[in-house]
Symmetry: C2
């Protein structure tokens, strides 16, 4: 790496007579900066005088550098800046390092102890920075370092004055960083722990020995360099380590049940565990982001309260990725034995996609209390007396991608009275990015809890449809595995009924039974293979009734009848002849009869700007600058950039002939190697925080075509890391 | 909920003439506190006088409360506290709310603008709090609220002075919270955004309308209540929402490659992406925690550097849970068809455990660059020319639990020259809680990269052992599934060789091959079933050579020979007669011949104090206080409390006969229902942040025995939620 130099730059370092400040001054001086070495020459508590600054200036000059001493107090910081302007005609870098301590337990702390610390640390930094500001703005360049302390970030006995002052500088930085941004004035904060005159009698000696200011100075110098681009960072450094600290916010909570309720002390107390729950947090960089988030949260709260007012709702979130989809596909009998199933089993397959029945799962909300809560007085429901009776799902928007996250609303639309038993009609609304994309409906049979005088039928329930009387148009037979339920459980329904013999026998089954949704997954797979070109996104809706249980190891026979865009089906167990799924149908967008080689080209939609755009811009300029080297690769690479598991942009790296980097598919020929990766992951790979090999092994970077050629891209991606 | 009252408490609210302060004063007054209503009566910029405080006092009195007005400036905050002491003889609650604004762009900000803001906000809070401190200490009670702002936390244009002051109060709080802790003096910070005289002309009118101080006052009052126990919180509240904000720290990075290197600007620049990587962060509550963490990191860095000095190492982390173990077990052919396998497939099984071969995975470090880096000049290794030749694993400590996390060191111990090809001996050391618990060794065959004049044999390589010549003592035959590789991939090795026909054919195979480690998993399962009582923790070490590939769907035959505590084995493919695993053995702690009903009682070891201990103490006192109600449950519950997936403590809830709650197994009779849950999860369930039904459905709460009885515990757990 080229040496980072400061030639032509003028730096002011306050409190530079010794310790950290001296180390900063010496380092900057040795790298070409002209340095104003400010030091009042005070001892730890600010009293006394010395000529330490002269000695530092001599040391810089002895090594061929340029420096001048300054003996003003930072409380008159404008004079220090004047020294820089008078001697060197400019100021580029200001390191606010000067500081003193007046430690006292709070009760014994005098007003003078308080005032002096605020004056030196806070007012001092205000004075120097304010005096330099106009110059920074005029020259459109400035680097300011504030000095904070863990005492401020965490508190420290006997340092109430100092803690306040050290955090004040962080607040000061936050606003200066905003105001300085468009003038390339960057303000950052160092939290140092170093052996200095200040820490000498505070730290244990062995640690003190190793805590050399020279280990921190390069951090401060780097943050002062013209190549540095961050602002408003708080960086802790000592002993050759550095960490970044920032604020995060809990997701918090509304302080009342409904927007129309009062907020009371008692409602606050009830909400408190959620208010202070830091298990999920958000990071906000700027105040407007906080406001936008808040407005969104309030709208959500009002929206949900409105929905709740008709039906009490349960809200949950659901995340999935390609591994979940594959695990599910195996759980519902997709097999490498059928070439058409590979698209459900191989994350790098060109048509890799979810099975449509997978998206029933986010609507299950199995921990939701809504059914139990909706039962009429004297009736009860818990997972020992409920059965999954029927299932419906409808896709309202685009078919979901191969990874993503949803928010689900789950509520009981109606409880029907079927005499001996009750049926709860449970609706789920599945949202992605606030858009309602899927509806599901479960009929939950609550055994022995009927007879409460409720309605027998429902207008909101989606009904099953009888199969045509004629012979089926298509039949698919597939044996389930003895381990089908054990495998399907990994998709989330851990009910012991499906694995524990005792529980199964207690429920009247000879052995653990297969999940009804697993059987449904088999049959819908059969339907889309026969009538939907094996294309999941061709499915609009589907409905089924679970008539009887299936035992793992039994053979399923799916019988299908096509009627326009609707495919009716029912599922039988071969060994018993029992109908296990009845009155079922799949509604398709287009019927595509099984031709043996179903395919579904996925369209890539172009989105607005992505984080990785600047990476490709950088690669493009590198390729232009080194055309011969680029050409020597001799291959064409296609990048599919994804969001929520869908390709939203494509980039071609044409590294042969006349090399070029451009958006879209290859203009000439075909890609030798195709890489599919999310926008976020690609940026992480380029930044060096995600290892490409690790990304590949974890399925985050999917490579198809000539895999060996992907290896050749390593150096080019590393180039990107400079971004 | 009982009303939260302030009877007998004396509260001082500064700036209480209007807006937020007035709302605080009215609320506290209405709940029984005697209130000092302080107000200078200034307008937004601090000028002018008024008698707002009198009006507020009148309003409190009119509602039957008690209050007195005070017109001192907070800069003379001691006088305000004196008003409280003079009128009511005490002070319990201090709400530092008074504030003014002097907004200017930084360049135009005068020294007076700066000083005035610091004086009112920071010095004012110092003066009032300092004056009250001795009283708080003496009475061992105090509640202090500081008022901060998003302007301080995030910065805001034109508010450099105000941002500094508002963050100063957070720093001030941090130290006061520490100093006040043992005197029950709690200091917290409110970040309000409310419609007040201060915000009136800043906010959009429609939002302003809804931003009533009355929505924030209950939050401040709750934090001032004697039942409140937190300190040093920063709570943002507005519009009936509240969130908590705190600092988190990046894991950071060493700023040099080795402890003996210099830290330079350039080495800092290289480390920077890791320094500022906030994808993983830690929260520290106190400065000593930061130091302890740092010392640990430095020791790790030195330790790793020492290890690196002999062999460059790659470090990684590995997390797993019960779902991963089950997915793996299915991947290596465990089946519900064999009752003995259920312990590997059912997370609530009484002997649920990992298969020993599972722990080869954390040592795989598939993204590790060490093999590529260790190749001699002119030779190369990448995943297109390497083969997994041999595998060894040795358990050094206790057998790992059913969930946990490891840190793994991975390095090349030696590269052997076998003529045409090279073999890299790759060692992994697997640490849990800094203890080395597992060693693994892979022999990685690097095809065509031999002939560099290196050693042919190794002293560090663990060798295979020839099987005895006699007929095997035991033979197990099992067919792999056609989907075995597709399923095994879910355990982490996504190499397309195992799923992609093109890749397999390009590598000279008729179709995708099964992972060598999958076949090994089959065979070791067979060995422990036959000779280890099916008990994974009986395994000390095992070694195998992968002789030939297996195709999914082929049948494996494991032949075993017992020689003392060593069981030799080899694995053949039935269809071809090929030996696919050769020279292999498992070393056992104790040989347990297959008796058809293998069992391994797990011992529960008692650990020190757990978080859930206080929960059971609370339940115990509830049970004592309501013995009749407890008895009516009529059941005995056993809780297994786990850490890292191992039971470390047991509690019995005997809710029949003479009810009792005690540590250990039931003293009389047998548990009707056994619940297994981690210490952390149980505390979350009790705190109401984890829904028990959700915990059950996610496998976090495992229930065996009579599941229906578990339902009856609901109310008792909710009792615990009061903790």
């Amino acid at each position: 790496m080229d040496q980072l130099r400061f030639d032509g730059r003028v730096a002011v370092v306050t409190g530079a007579g010794g310790g950290l400040g001296k180390a900063y001054a010496l380092l900057l001086g040795s790298r070409g900066a002209k340095v104003v070495v400010n030091d009042l020459g005070g001892s730890r508590d600010g009293s006394g005088k010395s000529n330490f600054a002269d000695a530092v200036v001599q040391e810089i000059k002895a090594k061929g550098g340029e420096a001048v001493a300054d003996y003003n107090s930072v409380v008159e910081g404008d004079k220090i800046i004047k020294t820089a302007l008078d001697n060197y005609g400019r100021i580029d870098i200001l390191i606010n390092n000067a500081g003193i301590l007046r430690d006292r337990s709070f009760q014994k702390m005098s007003e003078q102890d308080w005032d002096l610390i605020q004056a030196v640390h806070v007012k001092g930094a205000f004075k120097t920075t304010h005096a330099a500001w106009a110059t920074f703005k005029a020259q459109k360049f400035g680097r300011v370092i504030m000095t904070s302390s863990n005492s401020g970030l965490f508190g420290n006995f006997g340092q109430a004055n100092y803690s306040a002052a050290k955090m004040a500088l962080v607040g000061f930085m936050n606003t200066l960083a905003l105001e300085g941004e468009k003038y390339n004035i960057l303000i950052n904060t160092i939290v140092p722990t170093a052996a200095s005159r200040l820490t000498e009698d505070i730290l244990p000696p062995e640690m003190f020995q190793a805590m050399k200011p020279e280990l921190i100075a390069p951090v401060v110098a780097y943050m002062s360099h013209e190549s540095f681009t961050d602002s408003a960072l708080v960086i802790d450094s000592t002993l050759g380590f550095a960490t970044k600290t920032h604020l995060v916010r809990s997701l918090g909570a509304p302080l009342r049940k409904k927007p129309t309720d009062e907020v009371t002390l008692e409602s606050v107390k009830e909400a408190w565990p959620q208010v202070v729950d830091m298990s999920k947090t958000k990071r906000f960089d700027r105040m407007p982001e906080v406001t936008v988030d808040l407005v969104g949260r309030i709208q959500d709260f009002e929206h949900r309260s409105k929905l709740d007012s008709t039906h009490p709702s349960y809200w949950s979130t659901y995340n999935y990725n390609s591994k979940d989809l594959i695990c599910y596909a195996l759980g519902v009998g997709a097999s490498v034995v059928n070439p058409g199933d590979l698209r459900f089993l191989y994350e790098a397959h060109e048509n890799f996609n979810a099975l449509p029945t997978y998206f029933i799962l986010p609507g299950m909300s199995m921990e939701s209390p809504v059914v139990a809560n909706a039962m009429p007085p004297g009736k009860h429901a818990d997972f020992t007396n409920i059965l999954h009776g029927e299932q419906f799902i409808e896709f309202l928007g685009e078919f979901p991608g191969t990874e993503g996250s949803f928010t689900t609303r789950n509520y009981v639309a109606e409880v029907l009275d079927k005499g001996s038993s009750a049926i709860a009609i449970v609706n789920s609304e599945i949202y992605q990015n606030k858009e309602l994309i899927i509806r599901t409906q479960q009929h939950i049979f609550v055994v022995g809890q009927g007879g409460f005088g409720g309605p027998r039928d429902s207008k909101v329930a989606v009904g099953v449809q009888p199969a045509p009387k004629r012979k089926p148009d298509a039949v698919v037979e597939q044996r389930t595995s003895e381990d089908q339920a054990a495998l399907y459980r990994l998709s989330g329904d851990l009910n012991p009924l499906h694995i524990d013999n005792n529980v199964a026998v207690a429920s009247g089954h000879p052995k653990p039974i297969l999940h009804g949704l697993a059987s449904l997954g088999f049959s819908v797979r059969h339907v889309i293979a026969k009538f939907a070109g094996n294309n999941s996104s061709n499915v609009k809706a589907l409905k089924a009734r679970f008539a009887k249980p299936v035992l793992p190891g039994q053979t399923l026979i799916t019988e299908m009848w096509q009627e326009g865009n609707r495919v009716h089906f029912q599922t039988k167990v071969k060994e018993t002849g029992n109908v296990v799924i009845a009155g079922a149908y799949v509604d398709l967008k287009n019927v595509v009869k099984d031709s043996g080689s179903a395919s579904s080209a996925q369209s890539s939609q172009s989105s607005g700007s992505l984080k990785s755009d600047s990476l490709f811009a950088k690669i493009e300029s590198e390729v232009k600058a080194n055309a011969d080297k680029a050409k020597s690769v001799g291959a064409i690479y296609l990048y599919n950039i994804t969001k929520d598991g869908k390709t939203v942009k494509q980039w071609t790296l044409e590294l042969k002939g006349t090399p070029g980097v451009y958006q879209g598919q290859p203009k000439s020929g075909k890609a030798d190697t195709t890489m599919t990766v999310s926008d976020d992951d690609l940026v992480d790979i380029a930044a060096g925080t995600l290892n490409p090999q690790a990304a590949f092994m974890k399925g985050k970077l999917k490579i198809s075509g000539n895999i060996m050629l992907a290896q050749k891209l390593g150096p080019l991606l590393k180039t990107g890391a400079k971004l």
